[in-house]
């Protein structure tokens, strides 16, 4: 008998499934100094961690939107391996409501693009980090977040840095907003990249359990 009976089997070629995520970062003036430095360092760590994982580098697609004075698309969706961490500068007020609305539109448009191209995808993430309160209208977008979570259209995570208005964050995010312990942005982004690596490796057919960031040595406090 042939040594390799199944040696003649060939495989279908499919594009890698994608896991897309919008980082929604507060760059208002109050982030000046140590917070923005820690945030910039954190984003770099995030990129390095994802790039080091060959599968995640291809499958995780990151876009970055900032809100400080105005809403800026710093970097549109692209493979995490090719993501270039920017150097963010704090300025202006906190148009968080508009920024969330923009991020929701981006997630939806990306999903359409995947569908049109027959690319399979995981439930997308929206990851908000803020140290303040919205200075624009946010009630309508909070409704959209609730609807989207209920329809499993995305998963919305909110992280508040010291000074953040948790009462408002709780009204926007269905999931309990997390409180960053000090300026542990680096640990937060290591957690985020680990979680997305796990998702991008996860099999079809299941929710990947996330490591609890509020455990004793985690980056978040309850």
């Amino acid at each position: 008998m042939d040594q390799m009976p199944f040696g003649g089997v060939s495989f279908a070629e499919n594009p890698d499934p994608r896991c897309h995520c919008v980082l929604l970062l507060d760059t208002s003036r109050s982030m000046e100094g140590a917070p923005i430095a820690a945030l910039n360092a954190g984003i770099k760590t995030y990129k390095d961690e994802l790039a080091a994982d060959s599968l995640a580098a291809k499958r995780v697609e990151v876009a970055l939107v900032t809100f400080g004075g105005e809403i800026t698309l710093v970097s549109d969706f692209g493979a995490a391996g090719e993501f270039r961490p920017p150097l963010l500068q704090p300025t202006g007020d906190t148009p968080m409501g508009g920024a969330i609305a923009k991020a929701l539109e981006m997630l939806q448009a990306r999903k359409q693009l995947y569908k049109q191209n027959g690319v399979q995808f995981y439930r997308p993430w929206l990851f908000l980090i803020t140290d303040g309160a919205p200075t624009d209208e946010w009630a309508a977008v909070a409704e959209k977040v609730k609807e989207g979570e209920a329809a499993r259209a995305f998963a919305f995570f909110a992280v508040g840095v010291s000074g953040a208005d948790f009462d408002i964050l709780k009204q926007i995010s269905v999931r309990e907003p997390l409180k960053l312990d000090g300026l542990r942005f680096r640990d937060l982004f290591v957690w985020l990249s680990n979680s997305q690596r796990a998702v991008s490796h996860s099999k079809a057919g299941e929710e990947t359990p996330l490591e609890n960031p509020t455990k004793p040595d985690g980056w978040a406090k309850v």
Binding site: R123, V199, K203
Partner: protein, 253 residues
């Protein structure tokens, strides 16, 4: 009348993490009242559920035993009988969970199953995975899927037999009996099908079934099949658990 070959191997990510294979499969050929039947099932235990390998084993065994009961009783097979077999499979999962003293969701798994008679075949599925058939439809010798994965679903958002709504998610089909049949959990999906073109990759199945056809005894292919499923070529494309259940009608017609 049937050559049956089936194997599950743990995915490379599970091997790395030290967790066992959470897929399971079961199958038997039976001839209750003069007609040959094949009863097969496979299941994929959810990685997020602690004892899902137990769930997958209970579900497949539960289905096969319930389906054989139906055939023994010479009941007409309909969608409702397949749903009954899935209910029995779910009951087996619940009983196993009770024995293990954990909630049934900790045994979450998918379930794909088929009953193939001499003329007709019945298929049902809850959750991801692929059932592929060949033969039975005159003039068409292609490998064809019984169900397509639903479009627009998230990859990490499957239905499970342990969901409250599983009966609503259950897909059912009655078809002319195929000559060749493959059941697989979703670990191999990307290798077996061109997802965007919605076609089955014929080059995956033809060589495998031609080996099975040539084999004197299907069991002599058991080791090669497991080795193939664990090979570097396969693991480069998927790090998930993999199950392949193959059945070939032998000698009939």
């Amino acid at each position: 009348m049937w050559k049956l070959l089936r194997a599950s191997v743990p995915g490379s990510s599970h091997a790395k993490a030290g967790t066992q294979c959470q897929d399971s499969h079961a199958g038997t050929a039976t001839k209750p009242h003069g007609e040959h039947f094949l009863v097969v099932a496979c299941a994929d235990g959810a990685g997020s559920a602690a004892r899902s390998e137990e769930g997958a084993a209970a579900a497949t065994a539960g289905f096969v035993s319930a389906a054989c009961g139906f055939l023994d009783a010479q009941a007409d097979l309909t969608r409702e009988s397949l749903v009954d077999c899935f209910r029995a499979a779910r009951k087996s999962v619940e009983e196993r969970a009770a024995k293990l003293d954990v909630p049934a969701r900790e045994l979450a798994c998918t379930l794909l199953a088929a009953i193939v008679g001499e003329k007709e075949a019945w298929f049902a599925q809850v959750g991801d995975g692929l059932i592929v058939v060949r033969g039975g439809v005159r003039g068409n010798e292609e490998y064809l899927p019984v169900f397509w994965p639903r479009v627009g679903d998230y990859l990490n958002d499957s239905d499970f037999l342990t969901d409250d709504t599983y009966e609503k998610q259950l897909q059912f089909a009655q078809r002319p009996a195929p000559r060749e049949l493959a059941l697989s959990t979703d670990g191999l999906q990307m290798l077996m099908a061109n997802i965007s073109a919605r076609t089955i990759h014929q080059g995956f199945f033809s060589p495998i079934f031609s080996q099975l056809k040539q084999a004197q005894e299907p069991d002599e292919l058991l080791v090669p099949l497991s080795e193939f499923l664990s090979s570097a070529a396969v693991n480069e494309r998927t790090d998930d658990d993999k199950t392949l259940l193959l059945a070939l009608r032998d000698g009939l017609r």
